[in-house]
C-alpha cells in the first residue's frame, strides 16, 4: 500500500453545500500541499471524496463506507452537529477518526473525534463579555436570536446562565427562534427595535446558514445601526457575507478564532495559497473572489496536526494517532501557535471579535490575550462540573 | 383538552347519536307503518309510489335550473322524460342520486326514505342505479371487472376483501355480458371501447347492480337504430320488476317503450300523458318538437 487514504465527508449538494463545499476544497488543497512536500511517512495521501448530500443518515452510511470499504485512515468532515452525532456511533464502533472543523455547542467528547472548531467558551462567552464592556457599548439588554436547533438553543442556554450570573435580569433577555431557512425577518427586526427602546441592547445571533442574508438585509434596510443595536453573530463569516450588501451592516460583529483580515505572515501565505489553488482548480466563486474563513482554518490546522501526529506515531493506526495528537502544535493562520489539548481533543484558540467592514471583511476590535482552552462541558450547565475533561474510554 | 371541553364534546356526540337513531327510526318506521309487511331494507311502496319529488328547486348562480318540480313514479313503471335541452332533466337525476342538493323541496324513495338525507353511495345501495349522459366506466379495469364491481352484494370494505364470485353470480355476469354484446371483450380495458360500447357497458353495470329504480340519461344516444331497438326490448323486459326513468330525445325510441311521458321545460313539468297526447300539445311542439 503506497498511499494513505483520507476521507472527505462534506455535503456537496443539498442545503449544507453552501457552507461545506469549500471545506472539501480546503482538504484537497492541504492534501496537494502535503503531497507536494513528500507526503506522510513517505506515502502520498489519497483523498476519497463522498457526498452525503446534507442527509444525516447518509453521513453515517458514508462513514461506514469510508471506514469499511475504502479503509481510510482519517475523515475530515461534517458541519452540523446532527451530522456529527449521526456518524459518532459508527466512528466509535469501527474505531475511526474524525476531524470536526466547526464551532459547536459542546456537550460532547469522543475519543474518536478531534474538535478543531470552537467550543462555546471559545466564542460565545468572550463575545458577550465584549459587548458588556464599555468599549463594546455596555449592553444592558439582550436579544438571543437563533435558528431553531440544538446549536443555537444550547449556546443560548449557556449565555442565559452566564448573563444571569452577571446580574442581567430575566426581563432584559429576549430569546427568539426562527425555523430553518426562514427568510422573512420583518417581524423580528421590528421586535428588536421595540425591545431596544428599553435600554442599551445587543443582539446575539446564532442564525445559521441561509437565513443570515435575509436577516442582515432586513436589518440594514430597517435602519438598525450597529452603533445603536450591535449584532454579534457566531455563524457569520466572510463566506456568509459574500451574499450580502455589507455597507449598511458596518459595525455589526462576529466572534471567531480566525478572520481573513488578520495580518500575519502565516495568514498571508495561507490566503495566497488558497487564492492560487482556487484559480488553478477553477473553483467557482473563489476563483474570482477568494475568501477564507474560520472553519477553513480549522480544517487546515486539523489536517496538518493529523499529519504531524501520524509522523510522530509512525503509523496511521487510530489509537496511536490519537495518542500522538495530544499536545501537537501548529502555526495557525490566525497568528498563534495552536495547540491540541493534551486531554480534551479540542484546540486551544484565540478569540477574535471583528466588526463588519464595508468590503465584507472584518476589523478585529478585540481579542483574547492568548489562546483559550476549550471547555466542552460548559460550567454554566448543571451537572457538568462532574464531567471528566477527557473522552471516556480513552486510556490516559 | 380541558374537562369542560370534553364534556361539551361528549354531549354533542350524544346528541348526534340520538339524531341518527331518530333518522334510523324513521327509515325503519316503515316497518311499523306497513304492519310488518316488508322486511327491513325494502322500500316501502305501500302508497303506490317508488319515487316522489315535490316542489323541488335548485338554482346555480341565480339561474333556476329546477323550478318547483313535482313528479312521482309508480313501482314497476317505465317513465319517459323528454324536454328541451337545458330543461333540467340531468339536474333532476343529479338531485335524486344525491349529486346535487336542492335548495328546497322533498325527494322520497318509497314513502319512508328521504333521499335528501343520504349520500350518493347510500342512495345507490338503497336501490337507485344511474346511467350518466356521458358514459362513465372504469377505464383502467376490464369489462369483466367493471361488471363485477357493479354486482349487487355487500359493498363494505371487509366484504370486498373477502369477496369471491360464486357460481350464481358468475352466471348472472355471463348473462349480462351476453345482453350487452360484449362477450368478446371481457378482458379488454373499458377505456378502449368505442363510445357505443361504453354505453352498453354502463347499462350492463346497471343491470348487475339490480336496482329497484333505474335512472337512464339518454341511453341510446350514439347507438344505431338496431341497437336502439334492442335497448328498447331490454327496457321493456325490465319493466314491472324494476322502475325505470328514461330521458331521451329519440322520439321513435320513446314511442316503442313509453306508457306515460313527462315533458320538462324550464325546470318544471310542462305536460304529461301518453306520447300521442304530449306530441299533440302545442306548447310541447313549440318548445321541443318543432314543426
Amino acid at each position: 500500500q503506497d498511499t494513505i487514504k483520507v476521507g472527505i465527508l462534506h455535503s456537496l449538494s443539498g442545503t449544507m453545500a453552501i457552507s461545506e463545499t469549500v471545506l472539501k476544497d480546503t482538504v484537497l488543497m492541504a492534501i496537494d500541499d502535503i503531497n507536494a512536500k513528500g507526503g506522510v511517512l513517505g506515502k502520498k495521501l489519497e483523498p476519497v471524496v463522498v457526498d452525503p448530500a446534507s442527509n444525516w443518515p447518509l453521513f453515517a452510511e458514508k462513514t461506514k463506507q469510508l471506514l469499511g470499504q475504502d479503509k481510510v485512515s482519517v475523515i475530515f468532515g461534517c458541519w452540523t452537529s446532527v451530522s456529527r452525532k449521526s456518524v459518532l456511533p459508527v466512528l466509535e464502533e469501527m474505531n475511526g477518526l474524525l476531524f470536526y472543523p466547526v464551532q459547536y455547542e459542546g456537550e460532547e467528547l469522543s475519543k474518536n473525534v478531534f474538535y478543531t472548531g470552537a467550543a462555546p467558551n471559545q466564542q460565545a462567552i468572550p463575545a458577550v463579555d465584549y459587548l458588556m464592556s464599555k468599549e463594546g457599548g455596555g449592553a444592558k439588554r439582550w436579544v438571543l436570536l437563533g435558528t431553531d436547533y440544538v446549536y443555537p438553543r444550547t449556546t443560548n442556554k449557556i449565555l442565559r446562565a452566564y448573563l444571569k450570573s452577571k446580574g442581567v435580569k430575566e426581563s432584559d433577555i429576549d430569546e427568539k427562534y426562527t425555523p430553518f431557512g426562514h427568510s422573512d425577518y420583518q417581524t423580528i427586526v421590528a421586535d428588536i427595535k421595540k425591545f431596544s427602546a428599553g435600554g442599551k441592547t445587543a443582539v446575539v445571533s446564532t442564525i445559521n446558514g441561509d437565513s443570515n442574508v435575509p436577516f442582515y438585509k432586513e436589518l440594514g434596510n430597517a435602519g438598525l445601526k450597529a452603533k445603536d443595536v450591535p449584532v454579534v453573530a457566531f455563524s457569520v463569516g466572510e463566506e456568509e457575507l459574500r451574499g450580502v450588501d455589507t455597507k449598511p451592516l458596518v459595525g455589526h460583529l462576529a466572534a471567531w478564532n480566525y478572520f481573513m483580515s488578520l495580518k500575519n505572515p502565516t495568514n498571508t501565505a495561507f490566503i495566497k495559497q488558497w487564492s492560487d489553488y482556487a484559480k488553478a482548480k477553477n473553483i467557482p466563486g473563489h476563483k474570482d473572489k477568494p475568501l477564507t474563513n474560520d472553519p477553513m482554518e480549522a480544517t487546515w490546522i486539523g489536517i496538518h496536526m493529523w499529519k504531524q501526529a501520524v509522523e510522530k506515531a509512525k503509523s496511521t493506526d487510530t489509537d496511536k494517532v490519537i495518542a500522538a495528537m495530544a499536545g501537537q502544535t501548529f502555526n495557525a493562520p490566525s497568528g498563534i501557535v495552536s495547540k491540541m489539548d493534551e486531554k480534551n481533543h479540542h484546540l486551544h484558540k484565540s478569540v477574535f471579535i471583528g466588526e463588519i467592514k464595508a468590503d465584507g471583511q472584518f476589523n478585529v476590535v478585540w481579542k483574547t490575550p492568548g489562546p483559550v482552552r476549550a471547555k466542552p462541558w460548559s460550567p454554566f450547565i448543571e451537572g457538568n462540573d462532574k464531567k471528566p475533561d477527557y473522552p471516556s474510554g480513552k486510556s490516559m | 383538552m380541558t374537562p369542560d371541553l370534553m364534556e361539551a364534546g361528549a354531549e354533542r356526540v350524544a346528541r348526534h347519536a340520538h339524531h341518527i337513531d331518530q333518522a334510523l327510526q324513521t327509515e325503519s318506521g316503515g316497518r311499523a307503518a306497513g304492519y310488518g309487511r316488508h322486511a327491513t331494507g325494502e322500500v316501502d311502496v305501500t302508497h303506490g309510489r317508488i319515487l316522489y319529488l315535490e316542489d323541488v328547486s335548485v338554482s346555480f348562480d341565480g339561474f333556476k335550473a329546477i323550478n318547483k318540480l313535482s313528479l312521482d313514479i309508480a313501482p314497476g313503471e317505465l317513465r319517459c322524460i323528454i324536454g328541451p335541452n337545458g330543461a333540467g332533466k340531468t339536474t333532476m337525476m343529479d338531485i335524486i342520486t344525491g349529486k346535487t342538493r336542492p335548495d328546497e323541496g322533498t325527494v322520497f324513495f318509497g314513502s319512508t326514505i328521504d333521499l335528501l338525507r343520504h349520500k350518493e353511495a347510500e342512495i345507490a345501495q338503497l336501490g337507485i342505479g344511474r346511467k350518466f349522459q356521458k358514459p362513465t366506466v372504469f377505464e383502467h379495469l376490464t369489462v369483466f371487472e367493471n361488471l363485477e364491481l357493479a354486482l349487487k352484494t355487500d359493498k363494505g370494505v371487509k366484504a370486498s376483501m373477502m369477496f369471491r364470485l360464486d357460481s350464481a353470480q358468475a352466471d348472472r355476469l355471463a348473462e349480462v355480458l351476453h345482453t350487452i354484446h360484449l362477450e368478446d371483450s371481457v378482458l379488454r380495458l373499458a377505456g378502449n371501447l368505442s363510445h357505443g360500447q361504453k354505453q352498453w357497458l354502463e347499462i350492463g353495470m346497471l343491470l348487475m347492480q339490480d336496482p329497484k329504480l333505474l335512472l337512464l340519461d339518454e341511453p341510446v344516444a350514439g347507438m344505431t337504430d338496431e341497437e336502439t331497438a334492442r335497448t328498447a326490448e331490454l327496457f321493456l323486459s325490465l319493466k314491472g320488476k324494476h322502475s325505470l326513468m328514461v330521458v331521451e330525445h329519440d322520439m321513435s325510441f320513446i314511442r316503442t317503450i313509453s306508457e306515460i311521458v313527462t315533458v320538462l321545460c324550464d325546470g318544471a313539468v310542462l305536460a304529461q300523458g301518453t306520447l300521442d297526447e304530449v306530441q299533440a300539445d302545442e306548447r310541447v311542439i313549440e318548445v321541443y318538437l318543432g314543426r
Binding site: - | P84, N85, G86, K89, H195, T224, D225, H249, G290
Partner: protein
C-alpha cells in the same frame, strides 16, 4: 374537395381502418354510416390529423395533407365537430366561439347568424361551457365549428343529445350550407332518418372497411338501413 385514398390505421396492434377510400364533393353532404365501434370516429379523426394514418393519402383542395398537423388542416379550411362535444369546459360560451375563430385575424367578429341558429347560446354567452346542458354543449360545438366558415365541415354524430326541434334546424342548416355550394360536408350519423334526408353521397362502414357506397337518393332502394342494422 376532399379525397381519401387507401388509408390504414391501427390502435395498439388492432387494425382499425382497412383500406378506406372516398371523396367528399363541394356542395354535397357525404354521410358516413355504420354500427358502434366500426371505426367511423377513427376515420374522421384521421381526416383531421388527430390520429395519424399508417398508409394512404388524404388530399384536400388539391393538396396532400396527410403529413399536416391538425391546426394546419384547420387553417386550410377544415372544420370539425367531434363526437362527445369536447367543448372547452372552463371557457365561457363566447370564448369557446372565439376559439373557433382562432386562425382568423384578431378582430374577426363572431357571425351573428350563429345566434339565430342557436338562440340559447346568445342567452348563455357568459356562462362557462361546462355548465351547459348536454344538448346545449352540442349546439355550442357545432356553432364553434361553423364560426370560421370552413370549406370542409366534418360532423361526428352532431345530433346526439339534441332536442328534436333543433335537430330539424341543424338539418336545415346543413342543407343550406351545402346548397350554398362553397362547402363540403362529411357527416357521421347514427340517426338514420336524419342521415338519409341529408345524404347526397353515403358510405357504410363495417369493421374498418367501407362495405357500401352510393348516392343518397338511392339509400332506401339499396337497403342501407338493413345494412347498418344486421
Amino acid at each position: 374537395m376532399l379525397s381519401v385514398k387507401n388509408i390504414h390505421q391501427y390502435y395498439g396492434g388492432s387494425h382499425i381502418l382497412r383500406d378506406v377510400s372516398f371523396e367528399a364533393r363541394l356542395g354535397k353532404v357525404t354521410v358516413l354510416l355504420g354500427r358502434n365501434g366500426v371505426g367511423k370516429t377513427t376515420l374522421l379523426k384521421s381526416l383531421m390529423g388527430l390520429v395519424p394514418i399508417k398508409s394512404g393519402s388524404i388530399e384536400f383542395d388539391g393538396a396532400p395533407i396527410q403529413k399536416k398537423t391538425p391546426y394546419e388542416r384547420a387553417r386550410a379550411g377544415m372544420g370539425f365537430v367531434p363526437q362527445g362535444r369536447e367543448i372547452f369546459a372552463r371557457l365561457t360560451v363566447e370564448e369557446n366561439l372565439r376559439m373557433g375563430l382562432a386562425y382568423k385575424s384578431g378582430g374577426t367578429p363572431i357571425p351573428p347568424e350563429l345566434y339565430e341558429l342557436f338562440p340559447v347560446l346568445k342567452q348563455m354567452l357568459n356562462r362557462r361551457g361546462g355548465d351547459l346542458s348536454g344538448g346545449q354543449q352540442q349546439q355550442l360545438a357545432i356553432a364553434r365549428a361553423l364560426a370560421p366558415k370552413p370549406k370542409l365541415l366534418i360532423l361526428d354524430e352532431p345530433t346526439e343529445g339534441i332536442q328534436p326541434s333543433i335537430i330539424k334546424d341543424i338539418g336545415r342548416v346543413i342543407r343550406m350550407l351545402a346548397d350554398r355550394g362553397d362547402m363540403a360536408i362529411v357527416l357521421c350519423e347514427q340517426y338514420y332518418d336524419f342521415a338519409q334526408e341529408l345524404a347526397d353521397d353515403y358510405l357504410v362502414m363495417e369493421r374498418g372497411e367501407v362495405i357500401a357506397r352510393g348516392l343518397g337518393k338511392d339509400m332506401e332502394a339499396q337497403g342501407v338501413r338493413q345494412l347498418v342494422a344486421i
